[in-house]
């Protein structure tokens, strides 16, 4: 009798721990290979031919079509520079410069990837269409209400995310990604 109770305990612990940790490992963000610069995180080259089992399990669930080394690298951010979630109740400025790339795009979207409805029907910026400072730096204002300059409207959501995709960049093919300078995400104010 006591043996059976202990056996049941072993099975219960095993099933809970095994499925629980597996679920944690494959839901949400990928666990292997993230590189963070400020609020930005990227997983360069993790889905190549020698991808690890965790990345494969993540791919199977997410159906992601990741950028390869010949294409570029995608950085995402869900917080500002102070660590607060990006929310439509606040106004943010994404400013500074990006690592060298032939082209980049910045997109604001819900955390599940859907875009946020807005009257301006603008969901992102492309590097060639930005108004820039004389030194090449840029500032993009993220807000619900119309803002002067480069304005990226956001919808009425509690938490959203930004994706900065750098196309044809030396970062995608190699090392030293942690040393690059990414744009800052500065919170201007909330209401």
């Amino acid at each position: 009798m006591r043996f059976l109770v202990l056996l049941a305990l072993v099975l219960a612990i095993g099933v809970v721990v095994g499925t629980g940790t597996a679920w944690l490992a494959v839901s949400g963000d990928r666990v292997v290979g993230p590189i963070s610069v400020g609020s930005w995180t990227a997983w360069p080259n993790t889905t190549s031919a020698d991808a690890d089992p965790y990345t494969l399990a993540h791919l199977a669930r997410s159906g992601e079509l990741s950028l390869g080394p010949g294409e570029g690298v995608a950085f995402t951010a869900t917080t500002d520079d102070t660590g607060g979630s990006l929310t439509s109740g606040c106004v943010y400025v994404v400013e500074g410069s990006t690592p060298s790339a032939r082209l980049w795009t910045l997109t604001a979207h819900r955390q599940d990837g859907r875009l946020m409805e807005n009257r301006a029907e603008r969901y992102g910026f492309q590097s060639d269409e930005l108004l820039r400072e004389p030194d090449g730096d840029f500032a993009i204002t993220l807000s619900r209400d119309v803002a002067p300059g480069n304005w990226l409207p956001v919808g009425d959501v509690a938490a959203y995310a930004l994706t900065l995709r750098l196309y044809d960049t030396p970062l995608a093919t190699g090392a030293r990604i942690a040393e690059v300078e990414m744009p800052r995400i500065r919170r201007v104010g909330c209401r």
Partner: protein, 182 residues
């Protein structure tokens, strides 16, 4: 009593480790909604089809860039290699080859092809050995991707941020060919 509880705990953790590893390794084989399944639902063999960019309502392919247009084509190398040709006049475009599991196994952009024309062959090593015996005349101008894979898909991305030229770029993407054989 305490000792047998400790053994049960240890045994439970070890069993948990085995279950964890088993789930991680076998999950890709049972995934019903992976990249391949989504691509298969949106495309057909031997033709490039546009993929829907994320919208405010839906994100079937949540990590596609809404500023770009995307088209994909499935292939199966078990009988013959596949040859992809395209004429893309976008400021930026790229092509990636994915395997059945969604791994990005080869990628290239317009700068490395020196021009707007793309001629790409995805072939297995066995088929390549056969082709080398009697190479077709135009083989030397093509980019040859030799991989030991069976099923997979090709994804083409092209910059289409300007709404006035988006339709042209989408047409060029769907006009790209993706045919079995050389």
């Amino acid at each position: 009593m305490i000792r047998s509880l400790a053994i049960a705990l240890l045994g439970g953790l070890m069993l948990g480790g085995i279950i964890h590893i088993t789930i991680i390794f076998f999950l890709p084989s049972f995934a019903a909604d992976d990249g391949w399944a989504r691509i298969s639902a949106a495309t057909s063999d031997s033709r490039f089809r546009l993929l829907p960019a994320p919208t405010a309502g839906e994100a079937r392919f949540p990590d596609l860039d809404p500023q770009l247009a995307h088209a994909a084509c499935r292939f199966d190398l078990s009988e013959q290699p596949v040859r992809i040709t395209a004429d893309l006049l976008a400021d930026f475009w790229s092509i990636a080859v994915f395997d059945r599991r969604g791994r990005n196994i080869f990628s290239i952009n317009d700068r490395s092809t020196e021009g707007r024309f793309l001629d790409l062959i995805v072939i297995t090593p066995v088929q390549m050995a056969m082709v080398r015996r009697e190479p077709p005349d135009d083989l030397d101008q093509a980019i040859v991707v030799e991989r030991r894979i069976a099923e997979g898909f090709v994804l083409a991305r092209a910059l289409a941020a300007d709404p006035t030229t988006r339709a042209d770029i989408e047409n060029a993407l769907t006009a790209a060919t993706c045919e079995q054989g050389l």
